[in-house]
Every structure is written in structure tokens, then in C-alpha cells.
Symmetry: none
Subunit: 212 residues, 2 copies
DNA sequence: CCAAAACCTAGGGTTTACCCTAACCTATTC
DNA sequence: GAATAGGTTAGGGTAAACCCTAGGTTTTGG
């Protein structure tokens, strides 16, 4: 008896990819593909697959919430999260909400099939990559801060001027303070962003959307 | 005569998806799928498809540079960029570097086939979504066009290290050259980007998609 | 095949960024 | 109404970045 699998992902491309990869083994039968979560919910009412591959970032729904909802409604439906996000917060949320596996979108065919097999037999399955992300996170590695630091008024002003290529001296003139004051704000910025120099500061601030 | 298409994308999932979507029309024949750019380059030597679907973020290569390289080497190879990035800088870079189309990864089968058909007939093709991104960009910021400077091998290396917060001394050790040499490359980078210091350099390089 | 251009290399000297420390001011709290 | 905490202001000293110049090597083009 083949494992029946449903797939929900609003990227047609990914959907085709997943379905094709799974169609190459007799062990698995894809019984449904949906690009809209509404269609998926409707289909699950009638006929339930053993396993559901679930994308996190859906257009009109939140994959994380949907996961909780589905695993409540259908406790014996095994959910495999499929996502681009490799941040530990997403992984933890999905697992907490009932997903039994979490795969990144660069997963190979073999790993995909392994995950489905494991999950179907009631086990949890995480690829090594994903396991490492959780591990590093729980070890409290002082890593790239995903949260945007809270800046004071002066720090925001100084950051803006730095991004406009002004030197500390020029900024000091603009703000009517000493160069040393500007340097202090600058040091505090480095510290708040957890970076070592201007290069890291600008990179982080741009990624945080604080400057453009 | 079917249009021959090659696909380079290091995500097996996407690769399968694209190949499957294209296998459903007689008009198109997929003649090669590669997850590593080295394999792709090798294959193109022997047998050249009409159209190449090219991912931007490859693991071991820069899709933007690869695009320039390929469209120089094979002027009659039509390149379709496939990417997750919807930032105008990426789009512009790819088009500037010879890509004839730019598709996001949520593209439908129909749009994919349309793009390939148009591109094969020598036209350029951009989905409305992508066109709008470019339009908004050109309306929003009437800034002097930021053409991407052409960097040498050393300059690219140094730029990468700078963006990773290494100092000139540390970079010198990594490259087995004098600090003074690294400083020279650095000065040349500032000059090529037309900026005054590291802050401007990182900002410009990020906007140009050369670092992330 | 030779000249021109571009690239990699590096030194001397100046300016700027960064670290450690600390005073002062203003809220908030107990 | 002192104590605590966060913010703005600086100083002294060191490390790093930046400017100008230039020789040697590789690439390019007529």
C-alpha cells in the first residue's frame, strides 16, 4: 500500500517539482496538489492523504497557523513543512505547531522521500542542516541578530549621516557636538548591531531596512 | 522543430518543477538539467540549447556574472533568468548582462512557456509583475543610473572580505600579500564605485547585488 | 611582435575610525 | 529623595583606513 501524499504550495513551479520527484517511486502516491489553501482544506474534508507537504509562505494564508489548525483537526495527518526560511524561529514554530519534519527548498529527492517515509511511520525527521540550525540556536551562539536593534534619536541621525558617507568630523559639525561624541554614538551603533566596523554596520542597517 | 532548453538551478526541486512544466508541451524539449554550473558549462561546450533557464543564486557561483559570461561566449544563446529576488537591482543587472527575460519563482507554467517562446524568437519578455518593479523603481528614484563597475578578480575578493568585516591586515594574510596591496585594491574599489569610504562602498555594492 | 593598457604589488605619510573610560543630565522607581 | 538606568557628551591612545606615488607583470590590440 503506497503512502498517499498531498501538496500545498502556491508556487506552481515547486508544486510540479515536488510532485515529479515523488512520482518516481512506487512507494508514494500523490493524491492531491493545491496552489490555494482553500482548495486544500476542501479536499481534505473528502479524502485524507497520509502525509501533507505544506509550504510556509502562502499568499493568502499563514502556513504556520494553518499547520496548527490542520494538525488539530486531523491528528493522524503527518505534516512535512517545506520552506525557504532557514531561521530557527520558523523551524521551531512549525514543529511546535505539529509539523513532523522541516525541509528547505534545496532538499534532494532522496531526502524528500526519506522524510515522507519516516514521518509516515510516526517518527520525526529533520535533515542535518536543519538540525544544526536548531542546535546552534539553542547553544546561544551570539549570531546574526535577526531582531532590529532599538536606536536612540542621536544614533539614528548619526547612522543616516554615516550612510551618506560623511566623516565623524563632518557629522560633528552638522550636529554641533564634538567629534568624540559622534565617535561614541558610532561605537554604540556597532555594539547594538553586533558588528565590528562600518562595513558590517551598513550591511546590517540596510538589511534591517533602516537605511537605503 | 522544438525549442531546445537547458536548465541550471542548484535546487533539485525547482529543476524538476521547471523540467516537468516544460515536458508538457511538444513545442519545447529540455535537453539538459544541471545543478552545478561547472556541469552546465561543460555541456554547453558540446551541445548548445536555444534557451537557457538560469538561476541567480547558485551555491558556488554568481548567477549575475555567469550570465554576462555566457551571453558573451554564446551570443545566440537566449537566457531566461529565474530568481526569487524581486529587487530591481537584480533584475536590471541580469538584463544588463544579457538575459532576455526575468521570471520570479512563482511563475505559472503558461507564463514560463510564453517567456521561452518570446525569447527564442528574439524578443525580450518580462512579466507584468517584473515590469512594474522596474517602473516603480525608475519613477521613485530619479537617481543617476548606477552602472555596475567592472571589478577585477582581486577587487572582487577584497570586496567580499570587506563585507565580511575583515580588516585590511586580515585580508592581506588571507591573500598572502602586503597590507599595502589590499589598501590599493580598496582605494581602487572606492574609485570605481565613485564613493568616499567604506560606508558608501558597502551601500553601492549591496545595491548592485555584488554582495549580500 | 611591440606598444599600450590594465592589473597586482607595495612604501611613506595623513586622516579617520575605533576602544576604554567617564562626567553630566534626565527620567523612573522604590 | 537617593538609587538606578539610559542617553548625550567628551578625552586619550591605538588601530585601521585612506591618499599619492610607482615598479613589475600580464593582457590586449594594431
Amino acid at each position: 500500500m503506497a503512502i498517499s501524499v498531498g501538496i500545498l504550495d502556491d508556487h506552481e513551479m515547486i508544486l510540479e517539482g515536488l510532485a515529479t520527484m515523488l512520482s518516481q517511486t512506487q512507494e508514494i502516491e500523490v493524491t492531491g496538489c493545491w496552489t490555494h489553501h482553500a482548495n486544500c482544506l476542501e479536499a481534505l474534508e473528502k479524502q485524507r492523504p497520509n502525509v501533507l507537504l505544506l509550504d510556509i509562505n502562502l499568499k493568502n494564508a499563514n502556513g504556520i497557523e494553518l499547520c496548527a489548525e490542520l494538525s488539530n483537526t486531523y491528528p493522524d495527518l503527518q505534516i512535512v513543512a517545506v520552506s525557504n526560511y532557514n531561521e530557527s524561529s520558523f523551524i521551531k514554530n512549525m514543529l511546535r505547531n505539529g509539523a513532523k519534519s522541516y525541509l528547505l527548498k534545496n532538499t534532494s529527492k532522496d531526502e524528500l522521500i526519506t522524510a515522507i517515509r519516516k514521518v509516515h511511520s510516526g517518527e520525526r525527521y529533520l535533515p542535518r542542516t536543519v538540525e544544526n540550525i536548531l542546535l546552534e540556536d539553542s547553544l546561544g551562539t551570539p549570531k546574526p541578530k535577526t531582531s532590529i536593534p532599538k536606536l536612540t534619536r542621536r544614533e539614528k541621525e548619526v547612522l543616516q549621516f554615516i550612510s551618506e558617507e560623511y566623516t565623524n568630523g563632518e557629522i560633528a559639525d552638522k550636529l554641533f557636538v564634538s567629534i568624540k561624541t559622534v565617535e561614541s554614538h558610532r561605537t554604540n551603533l556597532l555594539s547594538k548591531f553586533g558588528v565590528k566596523n562600518t562595513a558590517g554596520l551598513i550591511k546590517s542597517a540596510m538589511n534591517a531596512g533602516l537605511i537605503s
